[in-house]
Symmetry: C2
Subunit: 396 residues, 2 copies
C-alpha cells in the first residue's frame, strides 16, 4: 500500500534569479544562474548530479522551438550524458519538477538530482504572445474574451455577496504582499503601497484593480534534492530541509467553467491540501505550520486559499487578512516573499521560487522577513481553469 513521502527526500541547495523584467537574460541564462546558485549552496559539483527535471509552461514563447527544453538545459547546466525531463502542469509546473525529482530520489534510483523551474514571459516570440495563443487556441469561453482577471473577478464578486468580503480586504492582501516584497531582494516589485493607492487604482476587471493582479515576469529557480542520509553527510552544518508531504490534484467536475461550480473556492486546492496534510500528519494547519507561500495570482485568490487550505473556515478569508493573521507579524504568515503579487508569476518558475522562500525561512536565512523559529512551511499553486492544484510541505 502507498507510503507517505515524509522524511524520505531532502533539499540541500537552492538558487533563484532576481525575478523581474530580465530582458538581458535568455531562458537558459536564467536557468544557469539559478542552477549554479543551487550547486554552490549545496556545495556540490554538477558532476555529482545524476538526473534533472525542468518545469516550464510555454517555453516556445521565448522565441525558439523550446518545447523540448530539457535537452537544452542539460547542456547549459553541465549535465552531459544525464537525463533531463521536461514536465508541465499549468501553474503547478514548477512544483511538478520538484515532485517528479522527489519521486526518483524516494525510489532510490538516483542519489542527487536537480529540479529547475524557468519561464520567460516578458519577451515574446516572433510569432505570437502567450496571451494571444491562449485566446486563439484556448477554451471557448476564453476565446470569447474571458481572461484570468475576468475569471477571478467573478470569484471576488461572489465572495463579496455571499460572505461580506470587501474591496478593502482585497487591498489589504496587496498591501501586505508589497510590504513583504520590499524585504525580498529577489522580488520583482520592491515598493510598499498604501491602502488608498490600491483602492483608487485603475480597474482591471471589476472589482479587481491594478494592485489586485500579479505582474508578468521572467525568472528561474532551482533545487538540489537527495536522500536524508546523504543530506546529513553533505550538509554537515545541518542546512537542509525535508519533504513532509506532497499532494497534487487534477479536478475535473468542478473546473472553473463547468456547471456546479459555486465560485466560492477551489476543490483542487482543498483536495491537494488534504493529501499533503495526510502525508505530513498535519491536523491543525494554522497551529502546526509556521509559514506558507500560496498562489496569489490575484488578491481574491489568496483569500480563497486561506479557506481552501484550511487556515480558516469557508467565508472567513476576509477576516483572516483583516485581522492581520497572515501578516509577517501574524500567527500564520502567508507569502513572506511578497507572493506572486511582488515576485510575479513566471509560470514554470513560481513553484520552485516559492519553495526557495520556504527553504530560506526554515534555514533562518530570510533576513528582514524572517519568521521566528520557522520549522514547517507550506507551498501551494493553483492552475488552469481551477483544475490543478499542488501542495507541498517542508520541515527541518
Amino acid at each position: 500500500m502507498a507510503e507517505s513521502i515524509k522524511d524520505r527526500v531532502a533539499i540541500i541547495g537552492m538558487g533563484s534569479t532576481k525575478f523581474g523584467e530580465n530582458f538581458e537574460m535568455s531562458f537558459l541564462d536564467m536557468a544557469v544562474e539559478a542552477a549554479y546558485e543551487a550547486y554552490q549552496d549545496a556545495g556540490i559539483d554538477p558532476k555529482e548530479v545524476q538526473a534533472g527535471w525542468l518545469g516550464t509552461f510555454a517555453p516556445d514563447q521565448a522565441g525558439g522551438f523550446m518545447g523540448q527544453a530539457g535537452s537544452f538545459l542539460a547542456t547549459a547546466i553541465s549535465l552531459k550524458d544525464r537525463p533531463v525531463t521536461r514536465v508541465t502542469n499549468y501553474c503547478a509546473t514548477g512544483m511538478e519538477a520538484i515532485r517528479n525529482a522527489a519521486f526518483a530520489v524516494a525510489a532510490g534510483v538516483f542519489d542527487i538530482v536537480i529540479a529547475v523551474g524557468c519561464e520567460k514571459m516578458r519577451d515574446v516570440g516572433p510569432r505570437e504572445s502567450l496571451i494571444k495563443q491562449i485566446i486563439t487556441h484556448g477554451h471557448p469561453i476564453i476565446g470569447k474574451g474571458q481572461t484570468a482577471p475576468g475569471m477571478f473577478a467573478m470569484m471576488a464578486t461572489v465572495h463579496f455577496k455571499r460572505f461580506g468580503t470587501t474591496k478593502e480586504d482585497l487591498a489589504k492582501v496587496a498591501v501586505k504582499n508589497h510590504y513583504n516584497g520590499v524585504r525580498n531582494p529577489k522580488a520583482h516589485f520592491r515598493k510598499e503601497i498604501k491602502l488608498e493607492q490600491a483602492l483608487k487604482a485603475p480597474l482591471i476587471s471589476d472589482p479587481l484593480g491594478l494592485f489586485d493582479c500579479c505582474p508578468t515576469t521572467d525568472g528561474a529557480a532551482a533545487a538540489i534534492l537527495t536522500t536524508p542520509a546523504l543530506a546529513k553527510q553533505i550538509k554537515k552544518n545541518g542546512e537542509y530541509i525535508l519533504v513532509k508531504g506532497m499532494g497534487l490534484s487534477v479536478v475535473t467536475d468542478t473546473r472553473y467553467f463547468e456547471p456546479g461550480n459555486e465560485y466560492t473556492g477551489f476543490h483542487a486546492t482543498q483536495n491537494a491540501a488534504k493529501l499533503a496534510y495526510k502525508d505530513a500528519g498535519i491536523k491543525d494547519p494554522v497551529k502546526e505550520l509556521d509559514c506558507a507561500e500560496v498562489h496569489d495570482c490575484f488578491t481574491i485568490t489568496e483569500i480563497l486559499n486561506y479557506e481552501d487550505l484550511g487556515l480558516c473556515k469557508k467565508g472567513e478569508g476576509g477576516a483572516f487578512i483583516r485581522e492581520g493573521r497572515s501578516a509577517l507579524s501574524g500567527d500564520m504568515p502567508v507569502n513572506t516573499s511578497g507572493g506572486l503579487k511582488s515576485c510575479g508569476h513566471p509560470i514554470g518558475a513560481s513553484g520552485v521560487r516559492m519553495t526557495y522562500e520556504i527553504y530560506q525561512q526554515l534555514l533562518g536565512r530570510a533576513g528582514d522577513r524572517q519568521i521566528k523559529d520557522a520549522e514547517l512551511g507550506l507551498i501551494h499553486n493553483l492552475g488552469g481553469p481551477g483544475s490543478v492544484a499542488c501542495v507541498a510541505i517542508y520541515g527541518r
Copy 2:
C-alpha cells in the same frame, strides 16, 4: 547509493489504438481508447488508478491550447481528483511517461498508476504545422532547410563509405519491417514490399528513398503500472511483465550538429543502453535479449541502433540485416511490430506503443509474429538532434 529499478515495477495492462490516419478521432478520443483497453487488460477500474503521466511532444498541433493536456486527460480517462503530469523529451517522450510513472511506483507513493502516450500528427492546427514550426523556430541548421531525412541521409552516406553498407542493406530493413507490420493488426502500414520496390522508390534525401522513411501517423498507447506484489495479486494468471532496466541519456557534446560528431552512431543510445544493461545485469545483449523494438525513424537508424545497442560491433550493422539476424526468424528479432516503418511515429505515443509490442511478445500474445519463448525484451527511442535516447528492458 542508487539502486537498480530491476524487478521493482510491473506492467499489468496495456492498450493501443490502431496507428494510422485517425482523422475521425481527436487527441483525447485516442487516449481514451488506449487507456480503456489498458484498464480492461489489467482487470482494474479507473477508480483504482492513483496517478497518471501523459507523454506528448507537440499536442498544440492538434488545434487547441493543449500544452497542458495532462489536465484534459484526467477528465477523459476518469481520473477525477488525481494528478496527471505531462512529460516531454523529444522522441523519448512516450518512454518518459512510463519512466516517471515507474519511479513513483518504485518510490512506493502510489500503488497503481497509468502512463499514456498520445500524438496527433496527421491533423495540424489552424495556424501552422509541426514541420513548419520546427523550420521557423528550430535550430539554425534546420532553419536553413535541413530536415530529418537530410540529417539521417548524411549518416547513411558515411556508413556506406566507411563500412561498405549499401542501399540494398537499407532496403532490407524496410522489407523486414513491412513483413512484420502485415502481422501486426495495430500497424499503420500492413503491406509487404519487395526489395526492388524499395530500391526503385523516389528519393527523399539521397541515399534515402521513400521506403527508408517512417510515415507520419496518429496514435496512442497506455500502460498500467504497479508493484510486483500487487501485480501477482491482481493478475492471478501471471500475465504481467517486470521492469528490468531503464536508461535515459541526454547527450550534449556529440549532438548531431556539433563539431566532433563522426556521423557513425549515437552516443546517447550507447550511453542509455549501458545504463539499462547495468540495471538489468545484461552482459551479452544478443544472447540474453529475445526481442527488441528500436527507433527506426529511417532504415539507416535501425542499422546504427544494432551497433549502438551492442547487438553487433560498430560497422557491422549492414551485415546484421544482410544475414537476417534481426528478422522474425533470426537470432535477435528487431521490430517485430513492424517498427516505426510500419507503425509510424506519433512521437509521444511511440515509446508506449513499442512497450506494448514487447508486452505482447513476453506474454505470448503476438500472434503471427510471436517470438518463441520470449522472456526478455528491449525498447529504444532516439530523439532530437541525436541528443536524447532512452532504453528500457522488460522481462517476465
